[in-house]
């Protein structure tokens, strides 16, 4: 604001400049306080005197009280400057000081810059912190599974038709990829399809989850992304970063209860301390990126689905977190008094160690750091902290059904599309002693999960209605695993510490360093926490798949090895085999007819490679229906 005053004489010049120029007023810092103190009472959040709403930028523009870029002719400005008390805004109040009006004029002239997504309309939704045990509705159209009872009620309430169910084959393929990241063995699928036991899907789920090495190999990817753990990466070069791979892998194989898992991350042993230690860069870093603040950002994002990145610099404009909240969390891990920095400038104030939800309990700042971390771990996993369970439930639901119950998955204070379902699953997890496999089994055994994917929702988030699972693209690791499995071209050496001793049919992509191909397919550099990977195939990825060296060589070698493995095979047998392996189904007569001409004469490495390429690039292969 002080800056603004000095700029006001120059505003005339700024207004006429047509090229990019600095905004002299800032919505959040300059305009918002004025609107809040003078306008909101009568013209926002349900009260719209004179039919005038300033809830959103759009509402303001539609009202025609302001002219985009033209304060001089905006009726609002005239009303503010009106000399007759009766006609002036704000009504029954002193006129706005001229410098306040100047701010609003400048703001209008500069195009009414608005904080994206900001609205004065208060959401009526308040995310509960405590766990809640919803009453299950009666059995509905989808069946008696508790998830299905809740989803049926949701469908009824929103007048939506339930999606159609998956065939045994499609179910097997999906659940195998979701639980273990692996394509199923075609023969196993055959047996499964022929089995008549009514309980067979549940038995399959339990059987897959019992394959603890395959399970760990697959979920390692999810956790490496979430905990930004990797075997190589920035920071390792000079000891500024530490892996937790060995601990993480063991925890997954053992299916360590999630509360224990979280406690060991927050209040770590030497094996798990890499996560809270964060990444130390050489040289000076911005105060919002020192290790203590990284701790605050990471703990809140990973376990609570809260974004404290803004609040690490200043009170957040997008949520309710304050700078002191972020620093309160950071202070827990600080070795010495932690001075609060606002926008990288010291404030002279020191942070008081505090959990982000103080209603759960206090952190005793007088205790040494290890004890403070123990207290934090205890508060995080306290039975009163429903958010802890809800957050991981939401992440799992997102992984398994393609879209979270709450979106974005790192804004857990947003309203879920069905609060009962989220709360039910969270309580179920707590009741199961935080056994994540039990949650996964519960979700995947529901008819809601075992349904055909529906179209991805592309409209505004608040208009989303759950209508069934959303199709997911294979992750880089799933894609590469499928390639290696079918072509027999997996590498021999495991890079993930602690994973090298287990028995498995082949070395999985999650266990080795990222390659160009995997990066091209979306395996992230793990410098930041990654909770959701991009879903779309990009042009550069497609290029890599069309002529990339790594992929081409893999196909060529794989074709050779397939021909060796099936020396007797005629073309049709090979085609059927590849279809069964890759798509978990046999080719239709139509497809056979289409594919056969590729093999004029005996199958050659080239023709097999081309067939493999084609099948791997089919949307049916890459997108899980």
């Amino acid at each position: 604001m002080i800056l603004l005053r000095t700029l006001i004489p120059a505003l005339g010049l700024l207004i006429t400049a047509s090229v990019s120029r600095a905004q002299s007023v800032d919505f959040s810092h300059d305009v918002l306080p004025l609107l809040r103190s003078h306008c909101v009472k009568c013209h926002a959040d349900g009260t719209y005197k004179g039919g005038f709403s300033i809830d959103t930028r759009e509402a303001l523009l539609v009202s025609e009280s302001v002219l985009h870029g033209n304060a001089a002719e905006s009726p609002l400005v005239h009303l503010l400057k009106e000399t007759e008390d009766e006609d002036r805004m704000p009504q029954k109040a002193d006129p706005l000081p001229s410098e306040s009006i100047a701010i609003l004029e400048a703001w209008i002239n500069e195009g009414l810059v608005w904080e994206e997504g900001f609205t004065f309309k208060e959401s009526t939704w308040v995310a509960l912190l405590a766990p809640r045990r919803p009453i299950l509705p009666d059995v509905g159209a989808l069946g008696s599974h508790p998830i299905d009872r809740l989803v049926s009620a949701y469908f009824t309430e929103h007048e939506l038709a339930p999606p159609s169910g998956l065939s045994d084959q499609a179910f097997y393929r999906r659940v195998s990829l979701d639980l273990l990241g692996l394509l199923p063995n075609p023969d196993a699928v055959d047996v499964f399809v022929e089995t008549t036991s009514p309980n067979k899907r549940r038995l399959l789920i339990d059987g897959l989850l019992d394959q603890s090495v395959d399970y760990a190999d697959h979920w390692l990817t999810f956790w490496n992304d979430l905990l930004r753990n990797d075997y190589k990466g920035t920071g390792f070069i000079d000891g500024g970063r530490k892996q937790i791979t060995e601990w993480l892998y063991k925890s997954l194989v053992e299916n360590k209860p999630y509360d224990v898992f979280a406690r060991e991350l927050i209040s770590p042993t030497e094996a798990s301390e890499g996560f809270v230690k964060g990444i130390q860069w050489r040289g000076n870093v911005n105060a919002s990126q020192r290790r203590e603040v990284q701790f605050a950002q990471n703990i809140s994002q990973v376990f609570l689905g809260e974004n404290m990145k803004c609040a690490s610099c200043h009170d957040s404009f997008i949520n309710d977190w304050k700078l002191t909240d972020a620093y309160g969390l950071a202070a827990i891990v600080a070795e010495e008094p932690l001075e609060i920095h606002r926008c990288d400038k010291p404030t002279g104030q020191f942070a008081k160690a505090q959990f982000p939800f103080p209603e759960l309990g206090d952190i005793d700042a007088t205790k040494p750091k290890p004890e403070r971390l123990q207290q934090t771990a205890a508060l995080m996993t306290s039975p009163e902290n429903g958010r802890f369970a809800r957050t991981i439930i939401n992440r799992l639901w997102q992984r398994l059904l393609g879209r979270g119950l709450v979106e974005p998955v790192d804004m857990m204070s947003n309203e879920p599309w069905d609060a009962d379902l989220l709360d039910f699953l969270a309580v179920h997890l707590m009741d199961s002693n935080y056994d994540l496999k039990k949650t996964i089994a519960l979700i995947t055994s529901s008819r809601s999960y075992q349904s055909h994917a529906v179209e991805r929702h592309l409209g505004p988030a608040e208009e989303f209605h759950f209508q069934g699972p959303t199709a997911k693209r294979l992750t880089a690791e799933q894609f590469v695993d499928a390639l290696w499995k079918i072509t027999g071209q997996a590498p021999e050496k495991v890079a993930a510490k602690g994973a090298d001793k287990s028995d498995r049919s082949f070395v999985r992509a999650s266990l080795v360093d990222s390659s160009y191909l995997m990066r091209a397919l979306g395996r992230p550099n793990r410098e930041q926490i990654v909770t959701v990977r991009p879903e779309d195939l990009s042009t550069l990825q497609a290029l890599e798949l069309n002529n990339g060296k790594e992929f081409s060589e893999l196909l060529a070698k794989g074709a050779g090895s397939l021909l060796e493995r099936f020396p007797e095979a005629n073309a049709d047998m090979l085609i059927v085999e590849i279809y069964r392996q890759a798509l978990s189904r046999e080719p239709t007569p139509d497809e056979l007819q289409q594919v056969s001409p590729l093999f004029e004469g005996p199958a050659t490495p080239e023709s097999v490679a081309d067939l493999l390429w084609t099948v791997f690039l089919l949307p049916e292969f890459q997108i899980l229906p």
Partner: protein, 476 residues
Amino acid sequence: MSPSISETRRDFLKQLRGASIAAMAAGAPQFVRGADLRHPNAKADTCILLWMGGGMAAPDTFDPKHYEPFKVGLPVKDVGSTFPSIDTAVDGIQITKGLEHIANVMDRGTLIRSHVQPDLGHILHSRHQYHWHTGYVPPQTVAAPHVGAWMSKVLGPRNPAIPAFIDIGQRIEGVGEQEELKAFHTGGFFGTEYGPFLLPYPDQAMDAVRPPEGMTPGRFADRYKFYKDLIAKSPTGKQGSAYQQESMLRAMDNAHRLLSSPERVAFDLSEEPKEIYDKYNTGRFGLGCLLARRLTESGARFIEVTTEYVPFLHWDTHEKGHTTLARLKREIDQPIAQLVLDLEARGLLDRTLVVVASEFSRDMIIEGVPGSNARDQASSKVDLLTEMKHYGQHRHFTGGSSVMMFGGGVKRGHLYGDTADERPFIATKDPVSVSDLHATIFHAMGISSETAFDVEERPFYATEDGKGHPHLGIFA
């Protein structure tokens, strides 16, 4: 002259519709303030960044200081430059010996001598390069996009068959600090669609755009046709997600368009007449300049050509600075000048911005800037020269570096900014920060430095906090 209310409203609603169409690409970062942001008029359609990775010492290239030839026993503090100065095509602008070709085209460009970098304490090339390439000092809480990714995202490709963002000459694997290099050779939160198309070896660039090794064009074309036919036969059809399937096939078509387009010949340096090829052929960097010229002609949007950053190699002189720079100058001098001349001869220079830059400068004595807590990293710390390996700019200097710009609407034969005549050679006039330099480059390309995208519900700007100011004095 003001628009009527209804006109304003109509415009607003039109923009609103545009924004919601953009929002259709669900999950993709969305423009913030798309409705009111005004981009400057573009002066250039293509940007070529010639990157002197490792810290190009200004006193030994574009900003000559007091020259002392090597002499045993000479106090290091008495040496400003290790190369004598030479005249250029512009009166009053001198640069250093070894850059005679560039000196001859100095009348086509603007030389900035006052580029400055922040003091980040202990100096790391990777951090400064990340900063220079993304506009943000690492670490960041989100993956910041490379400037090329910004151009790709905001401006899109000039020619749909040519990737918008091409990076020539940098190997990522196997040259050291690979993880640090990966961190900014990326589309960041924009996603891989906007990331760099990497061509580490310019003479092998054609391999990246032709069918895989051992596959004839005929087989390649048949394979694709076969693929499309088979999709049409798939019994699952569009069950699941038509959106995802279509988006996947669109990416495949884009890729295939490049791999079978006539324009891809631009990647093939063997098509170039020998006399031209030879003028550029000083090594990988020189050929990279040639490739950049060919790609500019074919419609690339942003091309970076690097001398390649490899720790302790090339411009990263912790010792033997003088002899190393004598070699590097041979590698860059003629290709850069030839690139400018060729673009000019083809009528492309006016609409192509060529930028020669580096993450910082170097100095014989000072690490960082005066008063910095940065630790001295020179390999041999001597006060008096005893061996030739001591002769050179062996400390990293952030107080004043040089940037050359050609074309793209910049002034011709112009000197911008200045540094002190005596050590410390800090910028004394018109300092240009990384944000401001980016704002200036974006300005030339028609991108407002306040362009922002929504990431995790907060705006992320093309220049840090949207605060980069273009130095308009650079433009004609």
